[in-house]
């Protein structure tokens, strides 16, 4: 009996040693924690830029780590991704830990060359979290990572926070690495947010279109409202609607988005239905508001939103790339057809019907519609 117990104990310990073991152990402070990785392509070489917090830096006297954090940027280059990574390893005294990466920055050069290789490399790297935000940039990554964010945190955290804030506000479409891998696997076009430097400050400047794993075009931020209406969750934008000699500021929030593909006679028709909640926020003149004016503004807003969406779809057709997510809806409705058709050509030949409905919601100035009532408008 005792022999069996001892044997069991020895087996447990032996299995533990075989499966895990002390060699897995790596103290948290014995590693170089990376907060942002940027990949550039210069002179036919891959160049990695990584942002590292200076752990031994300005900590408090009591070792509490409450002092100002400082970050440094390390560069590594090589003909291949492996060589570039090796070069990076040579320049770091501690092993690199990718579990703390908040953002992966791909430059336009890399995007033009193709992002698939690195994304697949990332997929197989167990250290990477699969929910790392991926963005593109058109500036030198060294400059981007060296910029000091407003709140003095790392660039990686700053970009992630900006993306999260904008996404939560319904004004941004962001993708994590796992989304991108999924899109690459299904050969679907997609967009990546682009962050550049404007007056030495990091700023979101638009979207980079990735088609077949490569750069395909750029959508500036001021032309991206329609994109967010089509792709964003809980999208919300504020519009300024001119009315007579003043302007009405209106907030529109997406309530529902229905995309119904109909395919017959090798012809695709997409019916897009958008429903919004609208809230009148401000008037540029203190002239008051009534039902008539509200309805007028609402009608105008519908036209503006319709224009944004139509422009976005037009641009997508002009660029010859479907990055608006229609393919998924088509695949769900016609799982057999998608295998046999040229989706891109079908999309480019398709006709699209867009319906926009909006409803003034109580709140904002709508609650005070009798204030300053103008008789000629009632």
């Amino acid at each position: 009996m005792l022999f069996k117990k001892v044997l069991l104990l020895i087996m447990l310990i032996w299995m533990s040693i075989c499966i895990a073991g002390c060699y897995d152990s790596m103290d948290i402070n014995s590693q170089s924690l990376i907060t942002a990785v940027a990949l550039e392509r210069e002179n036919d070489e891959y160049v990695f830029y990584v942002e590292l917090p200076n752990l031994m830096g300005e900590t408090g006297q009591d070792g509490s780590g409450g002092g100002k954090q400082q970050y440094k940027v390390v560069r590594g280059s090589g003909k291949t991704l492996t060589q570039a990574r090796q070069d990076l390893n040579y320049k770091n005294d501690k092993p690199l830990f990718l579990g703390t990466v908040r953002v992966l920055i791909l430059t336009q050069n890399v995007a033009e060359h193709g992002i698939e290789e690195y994304m697949h490399r990332m997929q197989n790297d167990n250290q990477y979290r699969k929910a790392v935000n991926v963005i593109t940039t058109r500036v030198n990554p060294q400059d981007l990572l060296s910029a000091t964010p407003e709140n003095n945190v790392s660039v990686g955290f700053s970009i992630e926070d900006t993306l999260n804030t904008l996404e939560n506000a319904g004004q941004k479409v962001a993708h994590t690495s796992s989304d991108i891998l999924e899109n690459l696997a299904s050969k679907t076009c997609f967009v990546l947010p682009t962050f550049d430097l404007e007056n030495a400050k990091i700023s979101c400047t638009g979207y980079t279109i990735i088609h077949r794993g490569k750069y395909h075009g750029f959508i500036p931020e001021d032309e991206s409202k329609g994109l967010v209406w089509l792709l964003g969750d809980d999208a919300k934008w504020t519009y300024v609607i001119p009315y007579k000699d003043y302007e009405v500021t209106v907030e529109a929030r997406l309530i529902s988005r229905a995309i119904k593909p109909a395919y017959s006679n090798e012809k695709l028709t997409l019916d897009l239905d958008f429903t919004f909640d609208t809230r009148i926020m401000y008037l540029s003149k203190d002239v008051g508001m009534n039902d008539f004016v509200q309805e007028q503004v609402n009608q105008e807003l519908q036209n503006v939103v319709l224009g944004d969406i139509t422009d976005t779809i037009k641009k997508s057709k002009q660029l010859g790339c479907e990055y608006l997510g229609f393919k998924d809806f088509f695949r769900i409705s016609y799982p057999d057809k998608i295998r046999h058709i040229d989706w891109l050509q079908t999309y480019l030949d398709s006709s699209i019907n867009i319906t926009v409905k909006s409803k003034i919601k109580p709140g904002g100035l709508a609650n005070f519609k009798t204030y300053g009532l103008q008789p000629e408008e009632s």
Binding site: L12, S16, A20, C22, S25, P53, T59, S64, G65
Partner: protein, 487 residues
């Protein structure tokens, strides 16, 4: 007459030769001599003078006084016996009885006027309660029994008196409700007490080791309590209580794992608050056991489970720590155990000073010197504070020891080692039983009603006694069939 006299002299010589520290008061009359034998340290000497010596002298006449006459007409002591067996005299004296030996009579009188110094009924020191009664047991068995009997006025309460120890002859009382407690459990306990073959026992802790069914066992299988109300509560549940003279702790059996997390206040307070406290104690027990190991696992092996910003913050705080997390945690846990142990063993005033010094050394100086990371201090403090939360401290003791095994296993094998040790402990726990009752009941074997009652309890919600105790009387409140049918 002559033979009685001769026998009397022989007995006195025999006792004097044994150097038993026996005092003798001799009263001589014309008709004969009466010797009063007693051990003065355990005899109420005021009572001896007033109730024995004085009346004997007042009744001194020329006529002979027989032992039976002394009991019937002379001494005022309420508890006295007439004995004739000379061999019992020594044991009676050692038990604290006073002996009246008559030169003119073959019989002698045994008087119960013993008095052992004892303290007043104290407040419970270890099992403090907010709303519960404030009387606790002392080292005197009779006083302890009086505290229980005064609460349980029921004829089926049995108090079986036993004696343990060849030399100490320590009285032990086994208490149970005859019509409630499980017979097997009662008989087993009485059998185990009867089987104890030792020269002496000085505390209930020693007695407990003889009553357990395994010699090597970390986990407590008998509850202890210093509170009379908890003792009564256990008896009403259908348990058996063992109270030993010379110990202020009563032993309760059987006691399952979940009951160690109950406090008497759970029953006295609002049931929702009581439930909250029980859940809190479960969390505290887990925290005290695993939090240090989790720290080691996360810092050494599995940094990915932490949010990135926190990883950086921890790495910064550990940047100057010279030890790896395993050594760091073991060191600080040892220091915490040292402080805890020293605080228990020293007087309260010195204990406060030790607490302050310990806090300053560990909390301030060690962090400033870069010996430990600030997060680890929080972790170990949390572990230490949590260990004080469970109501019965005996359940924490095994976890205090096992914690070090868990830390070492986690530091060596990461979460795998952590899981292995936890599984081994769980396997051990579910294999235990306490006087025939599965130790992890009502979770294993699972009984839904008892399980719910072990978390949410009020006497209103629990008219039935726990099924795992297998009591004779299943109901605390008799089921009201009439009311049920009206519902």
């Amino acid at each position: 007459m002559q033979s009685s006299n001769l026998r009397y002299e022989k007995i006195l010589n025999r006792i004097n030769n044994k150097s038993m520290d026996v005092s003798e008061r001799k009263l001589s009359f014309k008709s004969g001599t009466i010797s009063i034998l007693f051990i003065k340290q355990i005899t109420d000497r005021a009572a001896l003078s007033d109730l024995v010596v004085k009346p004997l002298m007042q009744h001194s006449t020329d006529t002979q006084i027989k032992a039976a006459d002394a009991i019937d007409r002379i001494v005022y002591v309420d508890n006295c016996m007439l004995e004739t067996d000379d061999t019992k005299i020594e044991s009676c004296l050692l038990d604290g009885y006073t002996i009246l030996l008559f030169s003119s009579d073959a019989a002698y009188v045994v008087l119960d006027i013993k008095k052992v110094e004892k303290r007043a009924i104290p407040e419970p020191e270890t099992m403090y309660t907010i709303r519960g009664p404030k009387d606790a047991f002392i080292e005197d068995l009779d006083t302890n029994l009086s505290l229980v009997r005064s609460r349980l006025r029921n004829e089926s309460l049995r108090v079986d008196q036993m004696e343990v120890g060849q030399r100490t002859k320590t009285p032990i009382a086994v208490l149970y409700f005859e019509d409630v407690a499980n017979n097997t459990c009662v008989n087993e306990i009485k059998k185990r007490i009867g089987d104890i073959d030792i020269d002496g026992l000085s505390s209930s802790g020693e007695l407990q080791t003889f009553l357990l069914n395994r010699k090597i066992n970390l986990f407590p299988q008998m509850g202890i309590t210093e509170r009379a109300d908890m003792t009564c509560g256990a008896l009403l549940e259908g348990k058996v209580v063992v109270i030993m003279d010379g110990s202020c702790w009563a032993l309760i059996a059987p006691k399952v794992f979940s009951e160690y997390l109950w406090a008497s206040d759970d029953f006295y307070l609002n049931k929702f608050f009581g439930t909250f406290l029980r859940i809190l104690r479960v969390i505290a027990l887990n925290l005290s056991f695993i939090v240090s190991s989790l720290y080691v696992a996360v810092i050494s092996f599995h940094q990915d489970v932490l949010p990135s910003s926190y990883v950086i913050s921890i790495a910064q705080s550990r940047s100057q720590v010279p030890f790896n997390p395993l050594i760091e945690v073991i060191l600080i846990e040892l220091i915490a155990e040292l402080i805890r142990e020293s605080l228990i063993r020293v007087p309260t005033k010195i204990g406060t000073a030790i607490g302050i010094v310990g806090a300053i050394i560990i909390g301030q100086a060690a962090v400033a010197a870069g010996v430990f990371s600030p997060l680890l201090l929080i972790v170990v403090s949390l572990s230490l504070i949590s260990s004080f939360v469970p109501a019965d401290y005996t359940i924490i003791d095994p976890f205090r020891v096992l914690k070090f095994f868990l830390i070492i296993a986690t530091g060596t094998f990461g979460f795998l080692g952590f899981t292995l040790v936890i599984l081994i402990i769980l396997a051990n726990l579910v294999s235990l039983n306490t006087f025939g009752v599965p130790y992890m009941a009502p979770a294993t074997p699972f009984n839904f009603k008892d399980f719910i009652k072990s978390v949410v309890y009020s006497k209103r919600m629990a008219p039935k006694r726990p099924a795992y105790l297998r009591t004779k009387d299943k109901f605390r409140a008799k089921p009201n069939i009439k009311n049920k049918s009206n519902r």
